[in-house]
């Protein structure tokens, strides 16, 4: 009895505030925009009984989804979001893996401090970390000042408000999400396996590719999912660093909702985004569950 109660509380909470809202989004994506409060039609009216419900369903249609396929903006935004997410995940892995590797091979007594140094930026406001790059990358920014001063360039580079700035911002802010799972996989690894590989004639590089990388794979997979999935729907980074030239679906959804006040289209954008993300999210959850069970 008590056990059922304990299960029910978080379960019901998540059902009500996580799962049910998705169905509401789905329903509104099938509605039409209206000049009313709330700004869509039809609204469900139970007071008219069965006729009201039937009437409600008959008014739902896929118009908004057809609209999404007709206007170039949307599919271009989806495509460019996925592209940006894939490329920036790759770069985050490239930057993050050596750091995680260095941490896992550092003397044991340093590790808690190194760990804290990675976690600290992760706990600092996301917004502040993105904002910090606005000052660095702008035309009069610190990076251009440094490059001009050293004589590497003679005219300032335009980085802010380009896709390059978006990539830098993503790698920077999502780096801890990549480092931590890889580090925890590498730290658990038995170092004598490397010695064994080397004894058996592997070079250090071979031992790294054949032993270290495969053993850290669960960490790499978790890190890549943790970066890629949220980046596809990222809003803050493209809107602060990307300028008008960067098209990402999170920004489109935001503008559809807050600027155009077109809630049905915003909902349709969200539904399609969710469909794109369902497979990676399920794979991510499987990966996590498998790891938890392996630890048990």
């Amino acid at each position: 009895m008590r056990r059922a109660f304990l299960i029910a509380i978080p379960y019901v909470w998540l059902l009500a505030l996580f799962l049910v809202p998705f169905f509401i989004v789905l329903k509104i994506s099938l509605s039409d925009i209206a000049l009313a409060i709330p700004p869509y039609t039809p609204t469900l009216d139970f007071s008219q009984g069965w006729a009201g419900i039937k009437d409600f369903f008959s008014q739902l249609d896929f118009e908004n989804f057809i609209w999404l396929t007709e206007d170039d903006l949307y599919w271009k935004a989806y495509l460019s979001s996925v592209k940006i997410a894939v490329i920036s995940t790759f770069f985050t892995l490239l930057v993050g893996y050596p750091i995680a590797y260095g941490m896992a091979r550092a003397p044991v007594e340093w590790r808690p401090t190194l760990m804290m140094l990675v976690i600290l930026p992760f706990w600092t406001s996301f917004l502040i970390r993105v904002y910090a790059w606005m000052g660095i990358l702008s035309n009069e920014g610190y990076l251009n000042q440094l490059l001009l001063w050293t004589g590497i360039i003679s005219t300032p580079l335009t980085i802010l408000n380009t896709q390059t700035a978006v990539y830098i911002g993503i790698v920077y802010t999502y780096l801890p999400f990549m480092i931590l799972p890889i580090y925890s996989a590498l730290e658990r690894m038995d170092e004598s396996l490397i010695e064994a590989a080397e004894d058996l004639g592997c070079s250090r590089v071979q031992a790294f590719w054949l032993v270290t990388i495969p053993l850290s794979r669960p960490g790499i997979i978790a890190g890549c999912f943790l970066v890629m999935i949220p980046v596809i729907g990222e809003f803050v980074i493209p809107s602060l660093l990307g300028g008008s030239g960067t098209l990402m679906i999170g920004k489109v959804l935001w503008e559809e909702f807050f600027s155009n006040r077109d809630w049905p289209v915003a909902s349709a954008v969200a539904v399609v985004l969710l469909l794109i993300l369902v497979i990676p999210i399920v794979l991510f959850q499987r990966n996590q569950q498998k790891q938890t069970e392996a630890e048990q």
Partner: protein, 272 residues
């Protein structure tokens, strides 16, 4: 291999430089005399003074702190319960769905979570304000708490709980007297994580807040859109300082708790 190879030393140095230099620059230029943030014109603390007089920021900060305290506390209770159910609950109807609902919010783009919660609140006729932000923040941060707590729950020796039950504890007593003290460091860091997630959140708060409740990130975002300003640098510096102190305290507390636990275990091993 106890020494750091040159490759590892270089990658750690470069990595941490990349992580920290942007924030250090931000902090340095919050003490800049000039309004032009990119040109150094001498040391000054005047932007902090201006910040202290900015009513709009202070109001927003107060709203943000209240939301963070309520939502992180609620999220810790719900998240710990969820972790316990997930790790110790055994099989029950809809377990896969449950674990999916715990992991999905970790990676769900914030624009989707924000939009869906807003539509829910409007659907049930709840006025947008502090309450709706608290509900929204609790929902996504409880999942983070539950991941942190469950990673501690899986590693600790379940026979301790069984021993307590054998010795006549009720399940609730066993949880309170045995399980909770052991997972306490994880519960505390879960609370801190939920707290900072709530302090930090811009997107979900923008969707779920009404005109009566503006949080600090919403204020910062609208100011930052216009460009870099020394006042925002000063505010950022203060926020970085609070987080730094918090994280260092938390890690010292955890370290001490873990050392004490290790001592206890060693003492127990000796008496066996």
């Amino acid at each position: 291999m106890n020494r750091l190879s040159w490759f590892n030393a270089v990658s750690l140095t470069l990595g941490f430089a990349f992580l920290y230099i942007p924030m250090i620059i931000l902090i340095i230029f919050s003490f800049n005399e000039s309004k032009l943030v990119t040109v150094w014109a001498g040391f000054s603390t005047k932007w902090y003074g201006e910040l202290a007089q900015n009513e709009a920021f202070l109001d927003a900060a107060w709203v943000t702190i209240r939301v963070a305290v309520f939502s992180s506390t609620l999220a810790t209770v719900l998240g710990t319960a969820a972790a316990y159910v997930l790790v110790r609950g055994g099989r029950f109807f809809g377990r896969t769905l449950f674990s999916g609902m715990i992991y999905a919010p970790l990676v769900m783009p914030e624009v989707i979570t924000g939009l869906s919660l807003l539509l829910l609140f409007i659907g049930i006729g709840l006025d947008r304000g502090i309450l709706t932000i608290v509900l929204a923040h609790t929902t996504f941060s409880m999942c983070f708490v539950s991941v942190v707590v469950s990673s501690r729950l899986v590693t600790f020796d379940q026979s301790l709980e069984e021993a307590a039950l054998d010795l006549g504890c009720s399940p609730a007593q066993a949880f309170r007297l045995v399980t909770l003290p052991i997972i306490a460091p994880a519960v505390i860091s879960g609370w801190l994580l939920a707290f900072t997630l709530s302090l930090d959140d811009l997107v979900i708060a923008s969707f779920t807040s009404g005109p009566s409740a503006t949080t600090l990130p919403i204020k910062i975002f609208s100011a930052v859109r216009l460009g870099v300003s020394p006042e925002i640098n000063a505010l950022s510096t203060l926020m970085i300082a609070v987080v730094t102190v918090g994280v260092i305290t938390a890690s010292l507390v955890t370290k001490r708790a873990m050392m004490r636990q290790k001592q206890d275990e060693m003492a127990a091993a000796r008496t066996e």
